[in-house]
Symmetry: C3
Subunit: 333 residues, 3 copies
């Protein structure tokens, strides 16, 4: 789904992820996920955090349940994060590399889903390069199966959005007075879309989406956001600066898209460009980073960077979501 | 092994899978597996079934044991089914993608087996594109190691055969009065061979193998079966109709093999062709399906279809077989 | 790191793997690992051995901990060995095939490491084709994370060295009077380097490194070893003969490197060449074997071969090392 699609479909998707009691049964999008529920998920996630060097949080709440990681696009970090989240809750985790097998045999995506459902998989974690796939699957599974969107085309990446706002909340507390700048290829970024939706729901003071003009979002993609093409102005007094991963294959290959050096000079988050932000501004990146392109390496490793904390929060958020949808399903029967 | 090979070898293989007490220690073929033992396995499998939406059946009977999935051909569903079956019995499961590693280094298949044996793997689940490999391995492993055939060339796929007859038994009870039609590329189908062997053992009333002439089996491949090349006649009053997956790469590429449209028109299982079968005939398919080629999509999703039930039964049958061979090995020492 | 590098770096690496109390916190190299500690690890490993046909040894000592297998080079046996070792100690094991994902996205190796660290991975098992990578990583991880070298370029493969000396100790007891011959491409063999270091530490009587001249090590690579180019002389009265895997791609392709037949005739370990060794000499190979090139198949399967025992010892050694570094980390906080 992209911003050009009809609004019912969006509403539909948001309501599809709640059951008749308003409990979360799928996680498809952050658009339309209401603030109290989002806050509860973040609170749950905080309970899964432990001190560095301590053993990770664990529970037995998913013993007997099965989580399938169904990644139609390659991924290391998100797949590993869901894998560990499932295992640490006691679930059996099935990792399916769907590129190399079923799709080669021409099986339809729904037949793959029905097969996993018939194997009594409880939660399917889905990453796909096509828009609309997670919701499409959620509309077709049986009522006791949960679908979690682990990255959907350019559209959304809701667990990433949640870990981003959790990280911001840990450092900044409340959202109302914050200026958050997201910098990069906004138009093609599911990370930016989900972060923007979560921030809007949580009442962020000001949201700035900064990119070269060809990478700017549609004007109505994020209501209330400021679309900007000057990095310095965009970072002015910002509390939070999030650099997006640039797709190397896009760089320099299309009209109006700058080369690497030019990109870094104009849109790279660096010690230099951060001078315009507040001194205690935090620096974020969803990873994997292209150091020296969208972010200066020493900044990523510096004291204002919260990039590894985002990763830690990612496991916690996924545990919170897995546990929550499992509880929804368990109390539905 | 195919039907042209000497009968001793077949006898040999059937006896190889039983120990001196007649207990199952490997599952290599359904040919020669006697009816009481086959029935016991099906009964065990039924105990591993739970109601839809309930948690899957689990036990701790394989705690401390190791199952290795050794797939020399790619597979999603059979691999996943064995993976979950092992995990739900408490086993440690090792998934080896052998294409991309050992074979690249030129290691012989027996050296791979000896290595796994030395790592104290208890059960090796083997899929291979060459005939005879599972039995060859079974002849070479130590007496406490079990080999399960998870798909052997065009020869056999015994857990698939078991899940097929379990599904039929659930719907039709006894086999003696049933007319079962298997439709497709019989000649190259390990699924058809194992289903035919299981049905014959269980005393099926009539077994019809229906295909274009170039895909017909050798006349003596399935003693007692009717080899037919007309779909309508083949489905007449059938109780069970099983469509086989067509290999797209075979379609239209060889003399006498029809194109896709012609194949569907003449051999596709559809609402239209099913009119000749009994009204309560069940429709089966081993998956993954080519909708619109060997089976009409809406039929596969319709009330007479038992295709997803086959998948569920597949996990249960594999749990039953894993548990059984483990018990055989445990009582052998 | 190779033998041409400065000695401080070696010293550094050896000391890097011990904490301030002298406890093992990483396993990077056997060079400089002192005899009492090496002996303790071998003793621990023996406690993880069980009789053939018995269930493998298990413990719950790593419950709650996470082991990540991070293989930047393909591997079946070492990866499987660490996977089982971790699972049999109760750890959660994450298998990452890094070729096909992160590196495709251009992520730096340290960013991958920081990501895993942030996911609270406790032990990272690293195989890499570049020298120095395990130590480089160990220098950068947080103090509660352990790095285990699972094969480093041509430089070292310490768990392999440990399993080799454990196997020798089981058969020959003490090292002082032994003549050990290692045969093959010594120059490019991390297996030879680690075995030689372990044997030297344990006080082996005589160590012979036998190869065609172009495959001979640098003269100072293994102090005290005899570098030989005649197989017959090298095997004379040997107690232990270890054949190395030959890289097929090297054979016959470079000046001075013999073809396959010539290699087997001159450097192949065979019943014939073993006549020069002691009658009770044991035959070793790290696997995977090229039968008929570096070793005669029937000798590998014969009574003097301890090759599968090496594999069994490999799991035990890895359990001992995993357990030890986990205990070091647990008592550090």
């Amino acid at each position: 789904m992209n911003s050009a699609e009809p609004i019912e479909r969006l509403t539909d998707e948001a309501s599809l992820q709640l059951d008749e009691r308003g409990h979360l049964c799928h996680l498809l999008t952050l658009k339309g996920l209401e603030r109290p529920l989002m806050t509860e998920i973040l609170d749950d996630a905080e309970n899964y955090l432990t001190a560095p060097g301590d053993l990770p949080a664990r529970s037995r709440s998913m013993v007997g349940r099965t989580v399938a990681n169904l990644f139609f696009e390659p991924s290391t970090r998100t797949r590993a994060s869901f894998d560990l989240a499932g295992k640490r809750l006691g679930a059996d985790v099935l990792n399916l590399d769907v590129n190399t097998s079923s799709r080669k045999k021409g099986e339809s995506i729904l037949d793959t889903i029905y097969t996993l459902e018939a194997m009594q998989v409880d939660v399917m974690v889905v990453r796909d390069a096509s828009a609309g796939v997670p919701a499409y699957i959620a509309r077709h599974v049986q009522p006791h199966v949960s679908i979690l969107n682990a990255g959907e085309s350019d559209v959304s990446h809701p667990t990433q959005g949640l870990l981003d706002v959790l990280t911001i909340r840990q450092h900044k507390g409340i959202f109302e007075n914050l200026a958050v700048a997201i910098v990069g290829d906004i138009r093609h970024s599911r990370v930016a879309m989900s972060a923007a939706q979560a921030l809007t729901t949580l009442g962020v003071g000001e949201l700035r989406l900064i990119s070269p003009p060809v990478m700017a979002p549609d004007p109505d993609a994020v209501p209330g956001a400021r679309i900007m093409d000057n990095l310095g102005d965009g970072l002015e007094d910002a509390d939070v600066v999030m650099a997006l991963r640039i797709q190397r294959e896009r760089i320099g290959n299309l009209d109006g898209i700058p080369g690497i050096d030019e990109y870094f000079a104009n849109f790279g988050i660096s010690h230099e460009s951060m001078k315009r932000a507040k001194p205690d501004a935090i620096v974020m990146h969803p990873g994997p980073m292209n150091r020296g392109i969208e972010i200066e390496g020493s900044l990523a490793d510096g004291p204002n960077s919260v990039i590894t904390q985002q990763v830690t929060n990612g496991v916690a958020v996924r545990m919170a979501v897995l546990d929550r949808v499992s509880k929804t399903m368990a109390t539905r029967n």
